[in-house]
Symmetry: C2
Subunit: 356 residues, 2 copies
Amino acid sequence: MPALSFPSGTDADGREVSTLVDDRKLAVLRAIVEDYVSTNEPVGSKALTERHNLGVSPATVRNDMAALEELGYITQPHTSAGRVPTDKGYRLFVDRLSQVKPLSAAERRAIETFLAGAVDLDDVVTRTVRLLAQLTRQVAVVQYPALSHSTVRHIELVPLTERRVMMVLITNTGRVEQRVIELPDVIDDSRIAHMRAVLNACLDGCGLAQVPDTVADLPDRVPVEDRSSMVTILSVLLETLVERHDERLVIAGAANLAAADFTIGLREVLEALEEQVVLIRLLGETTDTSAITVRIGSENPYTGLRGTSIVAAGYGSGDKQLARLGVLGPTRMDYPVTIGAVRAVARYVSQILTAS
Amino acid sequence: MPALSFPSGTDADGREVSTLVDDRKLAVLRAIVEDYVSTNEPVGSKALTERHNLGVSPATVRNDMAALEELGYITQPHTSAGRVPTDKGYRLFVDRLSQVKPLSAAERRAIETFLAGAVDLDDVVTRTVRLLAQLTRQVAVVQYPALSHSTVRHIELVPLTERRVMMVLITNTGRVEQRVIELPDVIDDSRIAHMRAVLNACLDGCGLAQVPDTVADLPDRVPVEDRSSMVTILSVLLETLVERHDERLVIAGAANLAAADFTIGLREVLEALEEQVVLIRLLGETTDTSAITVRIGSENPYTGLRGTSIVAAGYGSGDKQLARLGVLGPTRMDYPVTIGAVRAVARYVSQILTAS
DNA sequence: GCTGGCACTCTGTGTTCCCGAGTGCCAAGT
DNA sequence: ACTTGGCACTCGGGAACACAGAGTGCCAGC
């Protein structure tokens, strides 16, 4: 059990905490959170003193509990029932009372070997999401690396019929986007080859964000008879960059929802999981720091997920954040373990992506 | 209400049915199924006579019910409760008592416009699965077109670093598979280009099933210094064909499970949905006919899905069956509507794939 | 400021009871 | 030979009720 860390008066909230809540009350709060997470039952003063040697009697704990309730950190479902942490209580617990629990050596080895076997980006993402779901026993979500921070590795134009080509865009992160393009004119293979050469000469290594500017004068660099085709191709390319931007997500572990006694709101949660847009917002903005984001219950912007928390982290290759991954579970989750797992997986994935 | 169709003595089962079960008993069974599906409560003799004008009294219906129960078509949850159809009862209902309900004109228009907007194969599949989930209010599953029945449209080799290339395989169904290949030797771009040319010359239009035979002598057709690289590339190509074979599935509408009062087994169902292998088996073999497959409850091979039925159909481009799609829901589902929706969607998707 | 004691308040559980829907069977009717 | 009304019987589920147990708040004493 980690020592109780309580640097008093460090931030705006610190003052309230330091003046009204002494160390023992915080220890009580922590004990409540830990017990409630493991038993899923409101925890009473007597049980607390039995399971944690706080060195005081139940009566004292009761006084502390009353104070904590007054401050909104805990609540009781009914009069004369035990206490349950509120979202605010979990927040305090996560911010100041808990220490992230690192994975066991065995778990780390398992992650390493499991992820190392991936053959391509799709595979990395699929394995990652399954891994995360299994480690945390919760619902895992992994976002595909964003196009916006990648660079063009290659653009391929494959003639399909005489008026149709398939464009394949390959990025440095290994992501592949393809689109079928209907051309305005009939174009033979050698002209296609020329356009492909022009495209690649211009865009190879170009950051995707820069593509729109870079291609502006491209139509002028091809023979006049190919100009309208080139315009068509470019417009599809730009569309691809915009439309698919950040959109793809992979989910695993939905079955874990049923295990958690999610009597209420299961339907809403499943619905949210199918709404990519909602999920992406929940994963949060891609911040520059590699910090873990924790959204607890009502802190998250989506109605219907009142009872769920999200633990998310960014990942990427090198120092660039490419996308986010995380897990979603009941507010009543084991935050130290979950945060540890998410952090570890994010790091390993970053490592894999950087290496390849 | 469709006329009662009962061609007596048509098949092996027909004899039992025709001798022991007369038309009225079948009408009773149908009424029971219909009522139970819509109310989700065991249906009694009195309620039946009130809601369906069978022209007989409750007592008569009771006699018929006793006979139907004897034959295993219905059962009662407890003594002195109404009757509930058994899996065998649903089977008879589906096979001989129900008429597929076609979609409304509005629904058909909606399908058409919704699917027509798809830009590529991924998009077709995604839209299809959502559509199906929405139409049936159940869990929809769509399998990606199988590689085995497709032909090679193009193979692309993209140099990434001096010892690494990405292979992109494009099939005539628009499916794209990519793999990064680590080469044994350093190979410059022109030699890569040559290998690409050789590959495409040999494989363009080749059925994927024929690829293994076709490429057997390919290494001999390239300069001796490229031979080992070609072998590496071919082995990865063959791997891709085998590994990804039929594997990919897309699911939507899992939230509908929560709506159905799936008090029992929800966990199992969600687990099955994450097990691609199980799901593929459930969708069934790709048969040549365009018939709809219905698996009712215990008919399906997977424990834990006792309470669910699967309605599946094949789809494809032209007359070739490429893959399957279907929905999964409680055995207590509206089969006529569900079958109608699955059939319609399968047809439209086939149409889209054929046209493109 | 902590502690033990005490009265009080609930929830959850087990019990009992009863209503009503539904059945099976039988004898009478067509 | 089937159908029908009648009747006794069964059983699940809801209402009413009691009660044990866990938990609380408060107070007086240390």
